[in-house]
């Protein structure tokens, strides 16, 4: 009994200290990220590996998610004779929820895990310690560009995902299911609002970008400097990012759309 209580206490303490370390770490990195203006090359390279290389999976899954939404939405709507509203259904689902959330989940798997593994290996091979020896702050040189790149890349990826999803649903709807293309777009334009739907989706994906980037770089920076530690940190990045994104999405949806 006493042992259990002690375990509970130790778990709580370690969770709290980890959270505290993560917050302090974020504050230090954010303070150091101002220097990136003078060194855009660093950011560019990270944007390439985090954004451009993630583009393929985003494009393919965006198209397929849109096409599946189009099919399933059609089968439901056609029972009510409302298949003209397919565009509204697809556009609202994608801009509000699926675009930001699925992009963030894919991002965690494709880019977040890579960030963690890279930084973790740098730590395990003592490259970070070496930088410190040369009076180079690894938080500014290594972590800050990666965090900022994640923050910038995720909203852009989410917009591309959303648009391609709508295009995918349009293709399936008009060519395969015989929905009128004009009604698809006009009903969508009448029902989807820029401020309420597109902008809120963009804000969501920005917050997911902060969360995904933060979790990835912190797990890499904080990992045990062993191969086992790096592997566990990578797994933890994907799991924690997915859970945080889903939880955050619920809270944001409750706040944004009434």
């Amino acid at each position: 009994m006493i042992v259990r209580l002690r375990q509970l206490g130790a778990g709580t303490l370690s969770a709290t200290t980890t959270l505290g370390r993560a917050v302090l770490f974020l504050l230090r990195v954010v303070r150091g990220s101002g220097e990136l203006i003078h060194r855009p090359g660093l950011l560019l390279r990270e944007l390439y590996s985090v954004g451009v290389l993630t583009l393929v999976i985003i494009i393919v899954s965006g198209l397929f998610v849109g096409m599946v939404l189009g099919l399933q939405g059609y089968y439901t709507l056609v029972d009510f004779g409302a298949e003209q509203s397919l565009g509204v259904l697809v556009a609202l689902s994608l801009t509000r929820e699926l675009g930001p959330v699925v992009t963030a989940l894919l991002f965690a798997g494709r880019a977040g895990s890579a960030l963690t593994a890279e930084i973790g290996l740098m730590k395990a091979t003592e490259q970070l310690a070496g930088m410190e020896m040369m009076a180079v702050d690894p938080e500014r040189r290594v972590v800050a560009p990666r965090l900022v790149a994640a923050l910038l890349a995720l909203p852009l990826l989410a917009m591309i995902f959303t648009l391609l999803g709508i295009v995918g649903a349009y293709l399936v709807g008009t060519s395969l299911l015989g929905v009128d293309g004009g009604a698809f777009w006009s009903q969508m334009q009448a029902q989807v609002s820029f401020e309420d739907d597109v902008l809120n989706g963009l804000i969501k994906s920005m917050l997911f970008g902060v969360a995904a980037g933060w979790i990835a770089v912190f797990n890499g920076y904080d990992c045990q400097p062993t191969s086992r530690g790096v592997s566990r940190a990578t797994t933890r990045t994907v799991v924690v990012t997915s859970l945080v994104v889903l939880g955050l999405d619920f809270v944001l949806t409750a706040l944004m759309f009434d």
């Binding site: 591309i160 648009l163 334009q189």
Partner: protein
């Protein structure tokens, strides 16, 4: 060096594609053009019952959209719904005795405000009230009335 240039090119293309996607979402998917035409004038209409009318619903005359519903509130004195209609500046010559009614497009479609022109020579202006209004049809009332009539005939 060539490697760095192609990387810059790829990142540039990525950022441009993302911004272009946002632009298309704003212009093609959502109705950003509709709320930009905010230069218009607002008139008020009181309805006993607005049914399922929502803000941003279209205002139509002769089937053509000429504005949007900008606000729906309850008037605390009259206990009627006050509906503010923002009408495009192009249509600034509507007769002052124009009538407003709430209609439904199709059987299951959304509700909109339909305006019927009157015959007065003077025009509606900012802040005017449309006095001739007809409320939304509430299906329960109609069904109730129908059943009442049916039972009356049966006797």
């Amino acid at each position: 060096m060539d490697n760095a240039r192609s990387m810059e090119l790829a990142v540039g293309a990525f950022v441009a594609a993302g911004l272009a996607a946002l632009f298309v979402l704003a212009m093609q998917v959502s109705n950003i053009t509709a709320f930009q035409q905010s230069e218009g004038y607002t008139v008020e209409a009181y309805f006993q019952n607005v049914g399922g009318l929502r803000e941003r619903a279209p205002v139509r005359m002769g089937g053509v959209q000429i504005g949007r519903v900008s606000a729906i509130t309850l008037d605390a004195q009259r206990f009627e719904a006050r509906v503010a209609l923002t009408i495009d500046q192009r249509y600034d010559d509507l007769p002052s005795d124009t009538a407003a009614s709430i209609r439904t497009s199709g059987l299951l479609g959304e509700q909109y405000v339909s305006l019927e022109p009157g015959g007065m020579p003077d025009a509606l202006a900012e802040g005017d009230e449309i006095t001739l209004t007809r409320s939304a049809l509430v299906l329960e009332d109609i069904v109730g009335q129908f059943l009442y009539n049916q039972s009356g005939e049966g006797e």
